[in-house]
């Protein structure tokens, strides 16, 4: 099997696992989510007809009246149609609509912050590794310390200092609420302004991991023969550093993107909560606090698919930056 086929097959397996996990969890755990949901629905003036109940049961389990297998296929069928159920907390909105409204905020915030953090961390890591034995070495413990700080705590301190204290940034939200969401320059500017501090938090907390990994690989790469050859060739220092040492040292950081992306996404959920950011993380917590199980499951699924998709993309790109993987036949 070719490299790309193998990767796609792996991510399909992972997707299947996530979907199945999503199906199994509410059925294995204690509590009766469907009853809670129906009660909530009634409070909100929703219709409690048998059809609504059946829809939730497909999602969360019938308590043994239907066979597991039939439930499973009904659930898969609903997923395939993009039907994730109806949200209780945002009744009568459909879960897919709630997610559709909040997802872009998170994708842009987390995506940009991750990209900045990766580029910054890998760049600094390469430099720190290259200039070993200079004052730059102290960047490693300093940024590692930042990674050990809880995201939300750092976020709140930053808000207290920079927003409440100095008034440089807004306290919370994703944009100025007097503006109409759209593509107007005012709105985009406001969104950028509101997103800066959350993004800064994510970058500060995650840059240390990239930096340390890259620095260690850089140190290993610098003792490789091809770097010695490059030096003997009389190439300039920056060329040896970038084209030879860093070009090779960056491979594990790219390959390890999967692990790190999971951490970043997890951390940013809490960060969104701190900033009341209109993204999917805040919605997830809102769903949990309101026992909105359908929304909870839908969001977990979407987050997982987004992370899997990002990883698949990185893996496919990895084939481009390391020709050896395309020719290798074993799964690593």
């Amino acid at each position: 099997m070719g490299y790309h086929l193998r990767k796609i097959a792996f991510y399909l397996a992972a997707l299947w696992a996530a979907v199945t996990l999503n199906f199994v969890i509410p059925r294995l755990l204690p509590g009766n989510p469907v009853d809670i949901l129906m009660a909530k629905l009634q409070q909100r003036g929703g219709s409690v007809d048998p059809a609504a109940r059946q829809a939730y049961e497909t999602l969360l389990g019938t308590g043994g009246r239907e066979s597991f297998v039939r439930e499973y296929f009904a659930y898969l069928g609903n997923l395939a149609r993009g039907d994730l159920g109806v949200s209780v907390s945002a009744f009568p909105a459909k879960v897919s609509d709630v997610i559709g409204d909040s997802l872009p905020w998170t994708v842009v915030l987390v995506g940009l912050a991750t990209l900045i953090s990766f580029v910054l961390g890998v760049g600094l890591g390469a430099l720190v590794g290259w200039k070993r034995g200079t004052w730059l070495d102290s960047l490693v413990p300093a940024t590692t310390m930042l990674s050990a700080v809880p995201y939300f705590w750092l976020a709140l301190i930053l808000v207290a200092l920079l927003s409440s204290g100095l008034g440089w940034f807004p306290l919370n939200g994703g944009y100025d609420v007097v503006l109409d969401p759209g593509w107007s320059p005012e709105f985009l500017g406001s969104a950028l302004y509101h997103g800066t501090l959350p993004a800064l938090t994510i970058v500060l907390s995650s840059v240390g991991g990239w930096l340390l990994g890259m620095r260690n690989m850089m140190v290993s790469a610098m003792s490789e023969d091809y770097v010695l050859t490059a030096r003997a060739k009389g190439l300039t220092g920056s060329r040896v550093m970038v084209r030879y040492a860093a070009r090779n040292a960056v491979l594990p950081s790219v390959a390890g993107f999967a692990i790190s992306l999971g951490f970043v996404v997890s951390g940013s959920i809490v960060t969104e909560q701190v900033f009341s950011y209109p993204g999917i993380g805040s919605k997830l917590l809102q769903a949990v606090q309101n026992n909105d199980y359908a929304l909870m499951q839908g969001i977990f699924l979407v987050i997982t698919i987004a992370v899997l998709g990002a990883n698949l993309l990185v893996d496919l790109l990895y084939g481009l930056i390391d020709a050896r993987t395309r020719d290798r036949s074993t799964v690593s």
Binding site: A14, V140, A232, G234, L235, G237, R239, G262, T304
Partner: protein
């Protein structure tokens, strides 16, 4: 910081925080006592002030630290056991088990952890969300990365000779794993454990902050939750909000410092190195000599360290134009160090302590870094030991050849560059169509030819070849040697040829220097060395190789 300083700082800091959590609660009274003195700043009876409901922050902090450490420990142990089972056992068993375990680990790895934990915590009713439940969920979502690292390491250990020997001799599987493999994995297990503890404390703090933590315990996360809901920061009650986060950060930082030290044990390359001094600390006045292209005079190279190693001792050599000088000696005799020092490629802790290297009138040891860079490859190129690793694995051959021209011939047009690269490849007998190939697509012999082509690019006066054919089979070796001789006759460059294979040098070289323990013990023409070896070591070297021509046997 040195390794021991890092380790000490980390251990002391982590130890203090553990003591704070263990003993602190005994000394600080009941954290839940409500008083009517809300939000008083630190001082007096309440060293760290009080919360909005008048509870003592210090008392809360000690109990919360204990709670967080306990969860960290629980999760750390469980996650390490899980990763051990899936990583070590899978890799050791191999076959289908390994495939399944590794697929499972990889799937668990790409499914984002905290969202999963949040969903699970959301379904479990609050009254059933205990410390153990939360710990178990955190462990289940947190083991996969460690399993992957352990698997890779076990796979490499599994193939080591002593493990293979134990298996062949019929030792039980669990014994091989426990006795032969586990001890070697200890540093990695330790570092993964430390990492799991930090991650668990951070994740738990996040969960509790969101109000999804264990209902039956108070942790630093729950403390932050109450502080946030009591608007601690808005009321400027920093003493309530800052300490819990600071403890997490300090503990995480301390464990990170410990992990640095473990990393340095696992990977010696990461250890701190001595501050860089110059690569040349002293030289002796330059000695000119007639028609020589390269003169090395009384060169000394020392590896500085606790016990300095004098790798090159008072070596003097002269290379004439177009000559092939053979440098022979067993591994570790200093011949590679000498070759590197001539081009100043030696790295710390190696230093040139005295002597001179003169290249066609240029005092090499006196060049500044930029002059040295311009000197390299233009005047003197090198072909290294083991062509397998001398080429950059991630770029095509073309880029690596063109690099040289781009740097040293900046005015060359791109089509001229391409032509020149094709030309040198043809010179060494490699099809120019190979320019687009990556190193792994070429055979060992072809890679070495590419290296020689690269060394020819700028038509240098001297080429240093360090064991260029050692890793190749005899036929390829023969072809490449003939190639070198032919090219030398055509292009008239001089060669320093380094090898442990003296009979090969007899055939190839004009003159030969025999090195032993950093000294040149004999230096004469190839004919002299062959017919009248003077030094006993030379005679031993000659005797220990079966001759290429079969005239001189090992039993001489």
């Amino acid at each position: 910081m040195t390794r021991s300083a890092k380790l000490t700082t980390g251990l002391v800091l982590a130890g203090l925080i553990v003591l704070f959590g263990l003993i602190g609660p005994l000394l600080t009274g009941d954290p839940a006592t409500i008083r009517d003195i809300g939000l008083i700043p630190p001082g007096g009876d309440h060293l760290l002030g009080t919360t909005i409901t008048g509870q003592d922050v210090l008392a809360q902090l000690t109990h919360a630290t204990r709670g967080s450490l306990w969860i960290g420990l629980l999760v750390g142990v469980m996650a390490t056991v899980l990763s051990g089972v899936f990583g070590i056992v899978g890799a050791y068993a191999g076959g289908v088990v390994d495939e399944v375990f590794s697929l499972f680990s990889n799937v668990m790895l790409v499914i984002p952890g905290l969202p999963l934990v949040i969903v699970v915590a959301g379904f479990v009713p609050a009254d059933q969300r205990g410390t153990w439940t939360i710990s178990l969920v955190l462990a289940i979502t947190g083991w996969a990365a460690a399993a992957r690292v352990l698997r890779a390491q076990t796979l490499s250990l599994r193939n080591r000779d002593y493990v293979a020997a134990a298996r062949v001799s019929g030792e039980k599987t669990w014994r091989v794993i426990c006795v032969e493999i586990l001890p070697n994995l200890l540093p990695i297990l330790a570092s993964q454990f430390v990492f799991a503890v930090v991650l668990a404390i951070l994740s738990e703090a996040g969960l509790s902050f969101l109000g999804l933590g264990a209902a039956d315990s108070s942790t630093l996360g729950t403390m932050l939750y109450y502080a946030q809901n009591g608007f601690a920061l808005q009321r400027e009650a920093w003493w309530w909000f800052v300490p819990p986060g600071l403890i997490i950060a300090l503990f995480g930082g301390a464990l990170a410092l410990i992990n640095f030290s473990i990393d340095e044990i696992i990977n010696p390359a990461l250890r701190d190195k001595a501050r860089r001094r110059g690569d040349v600390v002293a030289t002796t006045p330059v000695v000119e000599s007639g028609d020589a292209v390269l003169t090395v005079h009384d060169l000394n190279v020392v590896y500085q360290g606790a016990s300095p190693v004098h790798a090159v001792k008072d070596v003097s050599l002269t290379l004439r134009r177009g000559e092939i000088l053979g440098l022979a000696g067993e591994s570790g005799c200093g011949k590679t160090t000498l070759a590197y020092a001539i081009n100043r490629l030696h790295r710390p802790p190696a230093e040139v302590t005295s002597g001179s290297v003169v290249f066609d009138g240029i005092d090499v040891l006196a060049l500044d870094p930029e002059e040295l860079r311009r000197f390299r490859w233009v005047r003197l190129s090198m072909v290294f030991q083991g062509a397998m690793n001398s080429l950059n694995p991630v770029t095509p051959i073309r880029a690596q050849l063109q690099d040289v021209l781009r740097t040293h011939r900046p005015s060359m047009s791109s089509s001229d560059r391409e032509d020149r690269c094709a030309e040198v490849l043809r010179l060494v007998g490699v099809d120019p169509a190979r320019l687009g190939s990556y190193p792994h697509e070429l055979s060992g012999g072809m890679r070495q030819r590419v290296m020689i082509a690269m060394a020819l690019l700028l038509e240098p006066q001297v080429m240093i070849m360090d064991e260029p054919t050692t890793a190749l089979d005899v036929l390829v070796q023969r072809e490449i040697l003939n190639e070198i001789k032919r090219l030398r006759d055509e292009l008239r460059f001089a060669v320093v040829f380094i090898t442990h294979d003296l009979p090969l040098l007899l055939e190839l070289s004009d003159r030969i220097a025999v090195m032993r323990d950093g000294e040149v013990v004999e230096y004469a023409t190839a004919e002299e060395i062959y017919l009248r070896p003077q030094h006993p070591y030379t005679r031993r070297l000659l005797a220990s190789f079966p001759s290429l021509t079969g005239e001189r046997g090992a039993l001489l």
